[in-house]
């Protein structure tokens, strides 16, 4: 059995991996590559996001000659299929079988929640895309770090922009009916209503709804705008159908960080023109690091990077800085984790960023508007909210006293029947 496995593993740094399988004492050596585990989704409905995560990470590693902070990287990619139980098994495989020093991913909130206790007990530094609020709020995990954003972190800024700059008063929300959508909309609603707006209607669409017609036709006639929190290809679908139902131009469309993703922007095209979304990233960001990233992505994959690709590219930057800080000694997990949390980047792909005490990012949130430049559609940055934390402008302790954002929390005060 071991012989066979060795044969299969031939490509993966022969000595290290098979020694680990045979439980031989692991020899710590600077020359040995640093093992990095990568949890992504390659099959199932979340696969498009998972694919971009992989593209972003590979772009970073390729550009850096497969090095992080001076150590060669040996990447092990695992497909979680978007299923919590499989995600857990894959996480165990990465840690117990491949002896990885840190794990990147997972994508979905429920995946991160399923491995939460395992991350703690195995003490594995983990950088996650998953937005689940509580992992860096009421149930903080010392080994969990989120360089992207919580589900609602950009929503707060969009809400502020919608109320103060766009002067929207009456808004309906529409989003996917799962935890990410609930948290995403809840953040918008809270800040929007605190700024004087009213959310008068909340619609939830099933994740795999083929058509939004029945939902769009429920929209109240006297709305100023609509907020969408759809993720993945559902963003494309809602933008297209809003336009098909003749609402384009009549309703101001605002959105969270997922509906108008750069990877789908060219397909959304005219339907999205003028829509405002808030995100911690835009392919249009005028930073040297980002310009390089966008160029590499266009060259290798013929797409503009969206938020998922940017996430894993950012992971690369954060890890690079952390590995440098510990002088390459990533096998010392405590020190490595401490170094990851202490990372402070001025010129990352998303601009300046650092982590708060919970391991969640504090960084800029950009309000982007869909513009047409020549024949190309872009998410042009129209406003920057600097150094936004997961708590927005709220008091941290009060924020944490409230229950976590959900479908009915905070309660909507202005719903109209």
């Amino acid at each position: 059995m071991a012989m066979h496995r060795r044969k299969v593993l031939k490509g993966i740094a022969a000595s290290g991996a098979s020694l680990a399988v045979l439980k031989a004492p692991y020899v710590q050596a600077q020359a040995a590559p640093m093992r990095v585990g990568f949890l992504t989704v390659k099959t199932g409905p979340l696969a498009s996001g998972g694919l971009q995560m992989e593209q972003g990470l590979l772009t970073y590693l390729k550009d850096r000659n497969n090095m992080l902070g001076g150590r060669t990287v040996e990447l092990t990619t695992a497909d979680t299929t978007g299923n919590p139980a499989v995600c857990r098994t894959k996480m165990q495989e990465l840690v117990e079988r491949f002896n990885v020093s840190c794990v990147l991913g997972p994508l979905a909130a429920f995946e991160a929640l399923a491995i939460d206790d395992y991350i703690r007990s195995s003490r594995t530094p983990t950088l996650a895309v998953a937005g689940a609020e509580d992992l860096t709020q009421r149930k903080p995990n010392a080994w969990f770090t989120r360089p992207g954003a919580t589900s609602a972190q950009p929503s707060h800024a969009v809400a502020d922009f919608a109320a103060k700059d766009l002067k929207l008063k009456r808004v309906a929300t529409i989003a996917d009916d799962f935890a990410f959508g609930h948290e995403n909309v809840a953040g918008f609603q809270r800040t929007f209503e605190d700024a004087g707006g009213k959310v008068i209607q909340k619609l939830w669409t099933p994740l795999n709804a083929p058509d939004y017609g029945t939902y769009i036709s429920q929209l109240k006639p006297d709305l100023d705008g609509i907020y969408t929190g759809h993720a993945g290809s559902n963003g494309l679908k809602i933008m297209r159908q809003l336009s098909e139902y003749g609402l384009k131009g009549k309703l101001k469309v605002v959105g969270g960080f997922t509906p108008i993703d750069e990877s789908l922007l060219q397909q959304i095209g005219d339907d999205g023109l003028g829509a405002h979304t808030g995100n911690w990233y835009s392919a249009e960001l005028d930073f040297p690091e980002n310009k390089k990233f966008v160029e590499l992505m266009r060259r290798d994959y013929k797409v503009d990077p969206g938020v998922y690709a940017a996430s894993t590219y950012l992971f690369g930057e954060v890890l690079d800085a952390a590995v440098k800080a510990v002088g390459g000694k990533v096998e010392d997990k405590e020190a490595f984790q401490k170094a990851i949390r202490a990372v402070k980047l001025q010129n990352s792909v998303r601009g300046p960023m650092h982590f708060d005490e919970f391991g969640n990012v504090v960084g800029n949130i950009y309000i982007r508007r869909v513009d047409k430049v020549g024949t190309k559609y872009v998410n042009a940055v129209v406003k920057t909210y600097p150094n936004v934390s997961q708590f927005w402008t709220y008091n941290k302790d009060e924020f944490l006293k409230n229950p976590v954002y959900s479908r009915d929390n905070p309660p909507a005060r202005y719903l109209e029947r």
């Binding site: 045979l22 390659k42 497909d79 857990r88 098994t89 495989e93 117990e96 399923a114 799962f178 009915d408």
Partner: protein, 327 residues
């Protein structure tokens, strides 16, 4: 018989020794998972193989036990009370589901079990306050049965193995009992069985309850292993997977579902590390098995073995028959 009991003893020893044969925690954990899914498939197979009732809602019992275990532990009950209560609750739901589902047979039965499974899934997904919705619930810790810590991979494996062995023995006894024979009778000749004075409905309902009981036990193991429950664990896909395990291995046999669970779990978790399109491989395995061994792997291999045996013996009578006319 003696040879058989020796084989069982060797098999049991080999299973018990797994953690010492494969020392890597990951593979030991995988073995535990295989046992958990094998138990789920075994319990489903009581309905499918022995009772001829195709159920597409069996994962519901995984969820009913899992969620009730977490909720009871969070409510402050101790692990033993929780385990008993949640299995009783889940089995009671099974009894109710049985009453509903057995109003129909064949496709009707399948559709009702599908609907019931989806209702459980829907409650888990929708009742945010109770089940945490999409984000699921976390069990704080594994229990400590008789003061033994089962947190390490090998200890948990042995715990699972003991439960599995008890379950396997009970299921084996059941299928070999007069009740098991009556069950097969209701599958093949329901009208004749009722003419013979058997209460067909009662036999099928009892089987449904027993199947949901063992399904609940596998749910208990599942939640102890994963410490996490979300609607994904009880989705239609999970029910279908258990069904496929039983069909792939051979639904008419006791060992079939175990073989199916081994193959599917390994392809899903180990082979997928090397082959990106492992779904296609799984599909290919199904197609090939269904084409060449329509009754499943275990009966198929048994048939193959018998035909090889008889072919090996075949030359002997042939020479006899050839030599017979000579003198």
């Amino acid at each position: 018989m003696n040879r058989k009991s020796i084989a069982v003893a060797i098999g049991a020893t080999a299973c018990a020794a797994v953690p010492w044969i494969i020392t890597n925690d990951y593979f030991v954990n995988l073995a535990s998972q295989i046992l958990i899914y094998a138990l789920l498939a075994l319990s489903l197979n009581l309905l499918l193989g022995y009772g001829g009732m195709v159920s597409l809602g069996h994962a519901a019992f995984l969820g009913l036990t899992g969620y009730s275990t977490i909720l009871l532990v969070l409510a402050g009950h101790d692990q033993l009370t929780t385990a008993i209560l949640s299995v009783v609750f889940s089995t009671a739901c099974g009894a109710l589901f049985g009453v509903l589902a057995l109003r129909a047979s064949g496709i009707g039965f399948l559709m009702i079990t599908l609907a019931l499974g989806q209702i459980v899934w829907g409650i888990a997904y929708r009742a945010n306050e109770l089940t945490g919705g999409d984000n699921g619930l976390t069990l704080p810790a594994r229990p400590v049965p008789f003061g033994i810590d089962i947190n390490s991979a090998s200890n948990f494996y042995h715990f699972t193995l003991i439960v599995f062995a008890i379950a396997l023995f009970c299921i084996w006894r059941m299928t070999r009992s007069p009740f098991g024979a009556a069950l097969c009778g209701t599958r093949d000749q329901p009208r004749r069985m009722s003419m013979l004075g058997h209460n067909v409905w009662m036999i099928q309902w009892l089987t449904f309850v027993i199947a949901s009981f063992w399904g609940s036990i596998s749910g208990l193991l599942y939640i102890y292993y994963n410490l996490f429950m979300s609607p994904h664990a009880i989705s239609l896909q999970q029910s279908a997977e258990a069904l496929l395990m039983a069909i792939l291995g051979g639904a008419t046999t006791l060992s079939g579902p175990i073989v199916g669970a081994v193959i599917i779990t390994i392809v899903k978790n180990v082979v997928s590390t090397y082959i990106e399109r492992w779904n296609i491989l799984l599909g290919l395995i199904f197609v090939i098995v269904i084409m060449f061994m329509p009754n499943g792997l275990v009966p198929g291999c048994r048939q193959l073995w018998q035909s090889i045996q008889s072919r090996r013996k075949a030359p002997a009578p042939e020479t006899k028959s050839a030599s017979e006319p000579a003198p």
